[in-house]
């Protein structure tokens, strides 16, 4: 059934391969939002196959080669930098671009804190993580405010 009604919508893209993050300024010329797919972005940045990671990751964690499972806790030093760069580049081209994350990391408190600090507009996570994410998002805001106050002092 066709109607005359129009629905407000944006057209955007997921950013889930490193090249997309690196060329985010060009992508933002046509994309009205970015949604960071950090599962794949982590996989491609580390070069770890997500489906085979169970075989070697426990050893890496045990030996202290990795501090956390990067598929559970966002790797802020590596993958996080790609996100940060894409956020900056995206906003350069399109200041009102809508930015969010939709990987597993969207429900993990330390990753949510990072998303807040780099200026994302929203996090998206599986339904049962929503309450945790709501709390973690509030904590991230308060934590940043407290750090800023300390800096002023």
């Amino acid at each position: 059934m066709e109607t005359e009604e129009t629905i407000d919508h944006l057209v955007g893209t997921m950013i889930e391969i490193p090249r997309a993050a690196l060329t985010a300024d060009a992508i933002a010329e046509s994309a009205e939002f970015f949604s960071f797919g950090t599962n794949d972005l982590t996989q491609m940045t580390f070069g770890y196959s997500r489906d085979d990671v169970g075989k070697f990751l426990p050893i890496y964690l045990d030996k202290g080669i990795l501090k956390n499972d990067p598929f559970a806790v966002l790797d802020q030093e590596g993958v996080g930098q790609l996100i940060k760069m894409a956020v900056e580049k995206g906003r350069q081209t399109r200041p009102d671009i809508k930015l969010g994350i939709c990987g597993e990391h969207g429900g993990e408190p330390s990753s949510i804190d990072f998303c807040h600090r780099v200026g994302l507009d929203y996090v998206s996570c599986s339904p049962y993580r929503v309450p945790i994410a709501r709390l973690a998002a509030a904590q991230a805001t308060i934590r940043e405010d407290m750090n800023n106050t300390n800096l002023v002092k």
């Binding site: 955007g12 997921m14 391969i17 939002f33 949604s35 797919g37 996989q43 491609m44 196959s49 997500r50 489906d51 969010g100 994350i101 939709c102 969207g106 408190p109 949510i112 998303c115 807040h116 994302l120 507009d121 929203y122 996090v123 998206s124 996570c125 599986s126 339904p127 049962y128 929503v130 309450p131 945790i132 994410a133 709501r134 709390l135 973690a136 998002a137 509030a138 904590q139 991230a140 805001t141 308060i142 934590r143």
Partner: protein, 695 residues
């Protein structure tokens, strides 16, 4: 390095440290100092810093003793002066406890030595001074045993080995027809000390140290060493505590809860650690040492009358028997109870958080051994913080920053369906030690918790060695031990369902059975626990997902007021969308359309599309899909009530939509009315050599 302060003393309302120095003094040490500063009675002593633990690990025992000797000697001197007793004196000996204390509490994970300073001479002085020979020799035999286990490495490593001291104890008790430790006479205790020491020499080749200073260095280094035991390392791993923090060591004058009927020892919480309810609760034992309460060897009694009555009801104990055999501290020690009540109030007002307190009453005199912010369940965490907000003790930001986000997960754990629970068969009741609902198959050993997919670990009582298994188990049931037993405290910390002290349950480790009355339940039997009521059920009970309400709802609404980002959900179906809305999602951040295509008729239309040779064919197949997909989206949009929904356009991994075995391919050929070859050709065409990377 030489001028660094390594030892901090406290006592008689003065202290060199304070509560803000947790990193340096450990949680216990910082709070012992702070309690002195606010006028709570604490036995005097001193804390060796966590930094020294690191130094010790670098330079080894000999150099470490050299480094710290003069600091410790002057700290001991200060303690001696305050109490008028002297370390190693054969007239007025000072006895001390040596305990661990990391930045955050790691209950039961590290070692403790009590009664240190006892030897063949000092024991006689203690007997003379207290006029209680039995007490003196019982303390001495406990000391040799504890020191032997902890410092001299006599403790058996596996569950199959027998503790050499326990073996001697059993033998002496059997030969003298004694059932209970408290019946051992002074002569038997003297003989036990001699045999214990001989066992030490036989196993280690060295004499048991009688010099109190040698004992002290041994105990301090053993506590530092216990930072690196397997169980402590595992505990840090699951609780994400850095290994480099190290532990502090607290050396304190001993006070005794086992000096007769005017003495007692106990553990109290200023609010309920399971539910968060604002009432003092806890357990105590008359004429006992601290370890007796926590270890679950004797049945601890409730501190408050209210708690005692509730306990009796749970345990099926009549009011008459309760009053005679298990009276509350409020009833039989009203003065000490009043004092404890005031102190917990003072501590809670000071720390503005629920306190977990250890105390000892020595011949009528109240001493605090420890206070710390109590471990609690997720539910209690929220209720306590929200009520403290209502009481205007803390502000909204403090409420939010106090929350441990991962603990929120506990409130989303399944609960028993009310209807299913009403029809279930109650086997017995224990104490509601840690809330939650759990069904699983019975196992009796912590290292066998992997045996079935869902297990209930049943133990007479648990110990720190059981930690790993407790973490894996769905629920924990103990036959002995109260609300402050090891099982209860650890389970609450983990947010794991636990019923403790189910007195009617008889557990036989050898036969691997749980007996209740005349019924015997073997390993592998399905049982269910309700950690909120203490009920134990037969079989598996259906569970449902809980709703967000009350304080939990208030907390989340408060969160939304403070956060800059909003929270959306990843949902591909109307059902998931509804669930997420109920949990407060403000839209969908990712809706993956390809997941819709795997269901039922949709995969057939999808395959038609894949097989189509030209655009017309593809469009025809897609038009069939359109109708089906539209229904899904309508459901999702309805659930989201006008909130934004981000739809990811079709990104189909085509090779996942075609069958890869010949049976499936034959079926597909039949359904599509094409030849098997056509299908196989298509499958081959879609094959990827590296499906992980794009196509």
């Amino acid at each position: 390095m030489k001028n660094k302060k390594r030892v901090y003393t406290f006592g008689d309302r003065k202290a060199e440290g304070n509560a803000s120095m947790k990193n340096l003094l450990g949680g216990k040490g910082a709070n012992l100092a702070e309690m002195n500063l606010i006028g709570v009675p604490v036995p005097p002593g001193f804390t060796i810093t966590t930094e020294v633990c690191t130094e010790y690990n670098e330079i080894g025992k000999e150099k470490f003793i050299e480094l710290i000797k003069s600091d410790v000697k002057s700290a001991i001197k200060k303690t001696e002066k305050l109490l008028g007793v002297f370390f190693g004196s054969e007239e007025d000996p000072l006895l001390v406890s040596v305990r661990s204390g990391a930045r955050v509490s790691m209950p039961g994970m590290m070692d403790t030595v009590l009664n240190l300073g006892l030897n063949d001479h000092t024991v006689e002085a203690i007997a003379r001074k207290t006029g209680n020979e039995r007490f003196a020799w019982d303390s001495y035999r406990r000391f040799v045993q504890m020191y032997g286990d902890v410092v001299l490495g006599m403790k058996p490593e596996s569950k199959d080995d027998i503790d050499p001291f326990e073996k001697i104890m059993e033998e002496v008790k059997r030969n003298n027809n004694i059932a209970d430790d408290t019946e051992l006479s002074v002569d038997l205790l003297r003989a036990l000390v001699v045999r214990f020491k001989a066992a030490v020499t036989a196993q280690t080749g060295k004499k048991f140290p009688s010099d109190p200073w040698e004992q002290l260095w041994g105990a301090i280094t053993a506590v530092f060493d216990s930072w690196n035991t397997e169980r402590a390392v595992y505990y840090r791993k699951i609780n994400k505590i850095p290994h480099e923090w190290g532990t502090a060591v607290n050396v304190q004058a001993m006070v005794y809860g086992n000096m007769g009927n005017r003495s007692a020892t106990g553990v109290a919480f200023s609010r309920d650690a399971a539910t968060g309810e604002n009432n003092l609760n806890g357990e105590y034992l008359v004429n006992a040492q601290g370890e007796d309460v926590v270890a679950g060897v004797r049945t601890p009694q409730e501190i408050t009358l209210k708690g005692s009555k509730k306990w009796a009801e749970n345990q099926n104990v009549s009011e008459k028997v309760r009053k005679e055999k298990y009276p509350s501290m409020e009833e039989i020690m009203p003065k000490a109870y009043k004092e404890l009540f005031d102190i917990q109030h003072k501590l809670e007002n000071h720390y503005n958080d629920m306190q977990d307190i250890e105390f000892t009453i020595q011949q009528g005199k109240m001493w605090l051994l420890q206070t710390r912010n109590g471990k609690r369940t997720g539910k209690a965490m929220i209720r306590i913080a929200m009520e403290m907000l209502d009481e205007k003790r803390i502000d909204e930001k403090e409420v939010l920053m106090r929350m441990e986000p991962e603990k929120i997960d506990e409130l989303l754990h399944p609960i028993f369906d009310v209807k299913a629970m009403a029809e279930a068969n109650v086997l017995t009741r224990g104490l509601p030690a840690s809330p939650g609902a759990a069904s699983g198959q019975l196992v009796f050993f912590a290292d066998e918790c992997n045996k079935y997919e869902k297990v209930i670990l049943a133990r007479i009582e648990t110990s720190p060695e059981d930690l790993e298994g407790m973490n894996i188990a769905n629920g924990i049931l103990t036959a002995r031990g109260g609300m402050t037993s090891h099982a209860a405290v650890v389970a609450r910390g983990m947010g794991k369902c636990c019923v403790s002290g189910a007195g009617e349950a008889i557990i036989d480790y050898k036969k691997r059975t749980l007996t209740i009355g005349k019924k015997v339940y073997r390993e592998g039997t399905w049982i269910s626990l309700n950690g909120s009521t203490g009920e134990v059920y037969k079989g598996e009970i259906e569970t449902i997902k809980p709703k967000v309400s009350g304080n939990f709802d208030r907390l989340l609404k408060l969160s939304d007021r403070y956060s800059r980002m909003c929270v959306r959900t990843n949902a591909d179906t109307p059902h998931d969308s509804m669930v997420a809305r109920d949990f407060g999602a403000k839209g969908i951040g990712l809706c993956r359309t390809e997941h819709m295509f795997f269901e039922g008729d949709k995969i057939i239309a999808m395959r038609e599309m894949i097989l189509a040779d030209d655009t017309d064919g593809r469009e025809e197949a897609l038009s069939k899909l359109l109708i089906m997909q539209q229904k899904d989206f309508e459901g999702i949009f309805e659930a989201m009530q006008g909130l934004p929904v981000t739809v990811r356009l079709l990104d189909p991994p085509l090779n996942e939509f075609v069958p890869h075995n010949s049976k499936g391919q034959m079926e597909m050929a039949d359904a599509m009315e094409v030849s098997l070859e056509t299908i196989q050709l298509k499958v081959k065409e879609l094959e990827e050599s590296n499906p992980m990377l794009g196509n």
